[in-house]
């Protein structure tokens, strides 16, 4: 009889009645063949694997993480509430010790959604992992969390949300941004002044195969995780590094994903992208679930899998090694670099332009953060879109020091509704969300 080594939970929500539009990659059909494979393999019957029905997140859960403009309802659909809810369900089941590990096989995805949300970018509206994490922090009092994003696209939304948070280690391993959407995620993106070093990017060259991915996990990701000692490890489990994916250029396989899962031993995995809905997803998902559960996955492979054809060029292996060495050296020297780069003033600013490819919106942000050695720092975002919607968003982080809390309230108090369409305050210590 087949039995799982680790009590493993699954939320399977394929949203068979939701699509961005009928021929969009993010459409009803996406998880259809995955469902067929999971059902036919009898995975849900395996002793020790439990399927949960997703809870819905609340607007409060979303506002704990995002500033939705003008409000939550305008930028989400029911499917987003369920998808984030599925992640939350798994997170709670892990924290309640109902399961040791869990996988939220849900759609739509979320890792391109940033702190301020004007619409949909990279098929994402709200960041489902972040909403789960912030809920778990509030409900269970956990602090140190690591997110390993193995989607082929840089997890720029998650990076934005945790850019200033020293308690969250965000590692994104993805196809080089010079060759793929969203065009970011370079080695030198290492986090804001208060959280330098806890953002890590490992951009891999196109046509990286199993060897390169697993090398990066073993030699770079695992040692950094061991150093950071998170209470919880989350895997943003995108599946578009697959050799058959239609919108990326990598050579990863179902076996590779299963081994990656086995090595990473994440507490929670959340599905992100992956659009080879027939050739990859059924096998990759089966492999990930078995690996999480600690069941032999050696017979899982794609019908057309040929490891010889997928072998990576020697030059790629060399490049990956160099990238890994550099990432590790930044990690080891992060405190020193942080000191060196520390801005002089009490505040620092950055200006950014953010493009919402799915909805065709361009946003301009002026971000101001209080330099603080005691907490993540009070954050002020002045955001305006090309259609003229201007808002002010003030974020006071979870473990904010007194000075940062006061700064946040001062910013919120001083802002005038004549200048901004909406003014928001996200007070994490009090778990409050104010709008004026």
């Amino acid at each position: 009889m087949i039995k799982s080594k680790n009590r493993t939970g699954l939320v399977f929500f394929p949203a068979f009645d939701w699509a961005i539009d009928p021929t969009h990659p993010e459409r009803e059909e996406r998880l259809l063949y995955t469902q067929d494979q999971v059902f036919e393999e009898g995975i849900l019957d395996i002793e020790g694997i439990t399927e949960f029905k997703p809870d819905l997140v609340t607007a409060t859960d979303i506002q704990r993480t995002h500033f939705c403009v003008p409000d939550v309802w305008s930028v989400t659909t029911e499917s987003h509430f369920i998808s984030a809810g599925g992640a939350k369900t798994i997170g709670m089941a892990v924290m309640d010790k109902k399961i040791e590990r869990g996988f939220a096989l849900v759609r739509p995805p979320g890792h391109h959604a940033m702190r301020v949300v004007h619409g949909c970018r990279g098929f994402c509206n709200i960041n489902i992992e972040a909403i789960m994490i912030e809920y778990l922090r509030k409900a269970y009092g956990i602090r140190r969390v690591a997110i390993v994003d193995t989607d082929c696209h840089h997890g720029d939304g998650t990076q934005d949300l945790y850019w200033h948070d020293p308690d969250t280690l965000f590692i994104s391993i993805h196809q080089d941004g010079r060759t793929l959407y969203p065009g970011s995620g370079f080695i030198n993106e290492l986090g804001g002044p208060n959280a330098f070093g806890t953002t890590i990017n490992i951009p891999l060259p196109p046509y990286t195969s199993e060897e390169g991915f697993l090398y990066s996990i073993e030699k770079v990701v695992l040692p950094i995780l061991a150093d950071f000692k998170p209470e919880l490890v989350i895997n943003s489990a995108g599946q578009d590094n697959h050799y058959s994916d239609p919108i990326t250029n990598m050579n990863f396989s179902a076996q590779g994903y299963a081994r990656l899962t086995d090595m990473l031993k994440a507490d929670i995995a959340v599905l992100e992208g992956g659009y080879s809905i027939e050739g990859a997803l059924p096998y990759v998902n089966a492999g990930i679930i078995l690996a999480m559960a600690g069941i032999d996955y050696s017979h899982i492979h794609e019908p057309d899998y040929d490891p010889v054809r997928m072998r990576q060029a020697r030059s790629i292996t060399q490049q990956i090694k160099e990238i890994g060495d550099k990432v590790l050296s930044y990690w080891q020297e992060r405190e020193a670099i942080k000191e060196k780069l520390r801005p002089a003033g009490p505040f620092t600013e950055r200006n950014r332009r953010i493009f919402y490819d799915t909805d065709g919106i361009t946003e301009t942000q002026r971000e101001k953060i209080r330099i603080c050695s005691d907490c993540g720092g009070a954050l002020r975002i002045d955001s305006e879109t090309d259609s003229g919607a201007r808002i002010l968003a003030v974020h006071i982080p979870m473990h904010a020091c007194r000075a940062c809390q006061e700064t946040g309230y001062r910013w919120f108090g001083e802002a005038r509704t004549t200048d901004f369409g909406k003014i928001y305050l996200q007070d994490r210590p009090k778990d409050e969300y104010l709008v004026k």
Partner: protein, 565 residues
């Protein structure tokens, strides 16, 4: 007139009904070592003095196949399993002669890797050499494309008495369950065939040349002829008989919990608006998870004869039974003894029951009457909490669309219907200890046999269309057709109902008036490759709802009125 017969572990219950009356009801003791004798005795006693020509229908529910599986009394069978990539098929081994072979079909029913005929022939030789006569053949995704299973049968058919094919057993996707179910069908085939051939012969001799129907676990019937090829469908029909018995008397305007309180177990089920819920997967028995359609029932080891103990100062009941209650000559105290000690049950030896409860009372340091009270309450409270758990489980069932999640009907029963030996006593106490309205099922001692008698033929059809590949197929029904790109969901639904009707009439020998059909699954996906819609993927599943045959409503009504008087 109709005969309903339900073989239980202790008694075989038999009823004779006509359109207006319960003409007769009897109980005979079940002889586990000779079920045939028990069935014959039941049938001959119920028909004493009745003109055999007046019998129109016989429905039987037996424990024959269930016992064979539970006791492991099964002949050597051979299993040939073609898996392809996925979980290693060695994990699904069912028996000694189990052979994984080459060959692979994918989720859309495309052939990925061919079979190796030489390998199959070699396996056939091994099996034949080992004296195997019954063989099960199962392929992964064979419910999408059965060609490999058919090919294997073709290669081996001359060497074996019967070859069972996985795709004929269910249209559902679940390879391990398909393997287990095919194995069980092959394994109980000889005992089932021999038994029912003998029953038929015997009825013929008594001048009853009537259609014989066999009750299935889903609360429906099938014809005897059909059952020979699908004997696995008869597993665990007992609990279904009881649920169908309650169905006959259940209100249709609300949800109801059905409790069958027996000697060893209490079986639970839920009726939604008078219709029992089907288990979404299939029966589990003796470690075998199957694709055998069944009613959603839950069984707990707590019945009238369960052993009562005090463990670490706490009263416990069951899950074992050591024989009848002490008041009826048994050796260990039971909830029934508590009822006897409380003078609720009066036809037993009270002194023996009291003596049985005494050591428990001493350990607990309370009076015998209070001990009996506590036992009775504990039994009721556990039954109540377990039924609440069952309802919660039904409501927690995952759904896969936003629509379902939103519209998700939550079962919320406020009524309990009780049947089984001690039904009326328990009904009263269950009502006192909860906020449920509790009713006793009329003729609670034989309601299970009434349920069997009145159950209608049920069946299910799964239809799959992939218009990109131009196919429409229901392998379970041996149906396959080429269709064009413009084939629609409406046409698929029409075809599914057509196949279902045919199946019910032919294989179930159903009455056309009883074809209450409904869709269980109705999904349609646009298949997009690149930026073009290249086809549609349509999945339709339809069933004949479990329910009662037409024309016997008057009997149920009469019995209900009688019970209220």
């Amino acid at each position: 007139m109709i005969i309903g017969l339900d073989v239980g572990g202790t008694h075989t219950d038999v009823v004779l009904l006509d359109q207006e009356n319960l003409v007769n009801q009897i109980k005979v003791r079940t002889d586990e070592s000779d079920l045939f004798q028990s069935v014959l005795e039941g049938l001959s006693r119920i028909t004493e003095g009745v003109d055999p020509k007046r019998i129109e229908r016989v429905v039987l529910s037996t424990t024959l196949t269930t016992n064979a599986i539970v006791q492991g009394a099964m002949p050597n069978v051979g299993m040939i399993v073609s898996s392809g990539p996925g979980i290693d098929p060695k994990f699904f081994r069912t028996n000694e002669h189990y052979y994984p072979v080459a060959g692979s079909i994918d989720h859309r029913g495309r052939r990925i890797e061919p079979l190796d005929p030489d390998e199959i022939k070699a396996v056939g030789k091994n099996l034949a050499g080992a004296g195997v006569r019954y063989v099960g053949v199962v392929g992964k995704f064979s419910s999408r494309n059965p060609s490999h299973e058919l090919e294997i049968r073709k290669l081996l058919r001359d060497q074996f008495e019967h070859i069972f094919l996985g795709h004929r057993i269910s249209g559902n996707l679940n390879f391990p369950r398909r393997i287990a179910t095919t194995f069980l069908n092959a394994a109980v085939y000889p005992v089932h065939k021999e038994f029912f051939t003998a029953v038929k012969r015997s009825l013929d001799r008594h001048g009853m040349k009537v259609p014989i129907h066999i009750l299935k676990a889903d609360g429906g019937t099938m014809s005897l002829d059909y059952s020979i090829d699908f004997p696995g469908q008869t597993i665990l029909s007992g609990p279904a008989a009881s649920v169908m018995g309650a169905c006959a008397f259940a209100p249709e305007d609300r949800d109801v919990i059905v409790l069958d309180i027996g000697g060893t177990t209490t079986d639970m089920a839920v009726l939604m608006g008078g219709v029992p819920l089907i288990d979404p997967f299939g029966i589990e028995l003796s470690g075998y998870k199957t694709l055998i359609r069944s009613l959603n029932t839950r069984s707990i080891g707590l019945g009238g004869d369960s052993v009562v103990r005090v463990i670490q100062g706490q009263l416990t009941i069951g899950p074992d039974r050591l024989g009848p209650a002490m008041g009826y000559g048994g050796s260990a105290p039971t909830p029934t003894d508590a009822l006897i000690a409380l003078d609720i049950v009066t036809d037993a030896e009270k002194a023996r029951s009291v003596a049985g409860l005494e050591p428990l009372a001493l350990t607990l340091g309370i009076s015998i009457a209070e001990t009996a009270e506590r036992i009775f309450n504990l039994a009721c409270d556990r039954i109540l909490s377990e039924s609440a758990k069952m309802v919660a489980q039904i409501n927690a069932k995952p759904v896969y669309t936003i629509h379902e999640l939103h519209e998700g009907y939550q079962v919320d029963p406020k009524t309990i219907m009780v049947l089984g030996g001690p039904a009326p006593y328990f009904a009263k106490r269950l009502a006192q200890n909860s906020s449920y309205e509790v009713r006793t099922v009329p003729r609670w001692k034989v309601a299970n046999a009434i349920g069997a008698a009145l159950a209608r033929a049920t069946c299910e059809v799964t239809l799959f269309a992939d218009t990109e590949r131009g196919i429409l197929t229901a392998p379970e029904e041996k149906f396959k057709k080429n269709v064009g790109r413009d084939f629609s969901r409406d046409e698929a639904v029409e075809k599914a109902f057509e196949l279902l009707k045919e199946k019910a009439l032919v294989k179930g020998e159903a009455n056309a008036q009883d074809l209450e059909m409904e869709l269980l699954e109705d999904l349609q996906f646009n298949m997009v490759r690149g930026f073009d819609t290249t086809g549609k993927n349509i999945r339709i599943k339809a069933q004949v709802k479990p329910g009662l045959i037409h024309g016997y409503g008057a009997v149920a009504k009469k019995l209900s009125e009688e019970a209220e008087r």
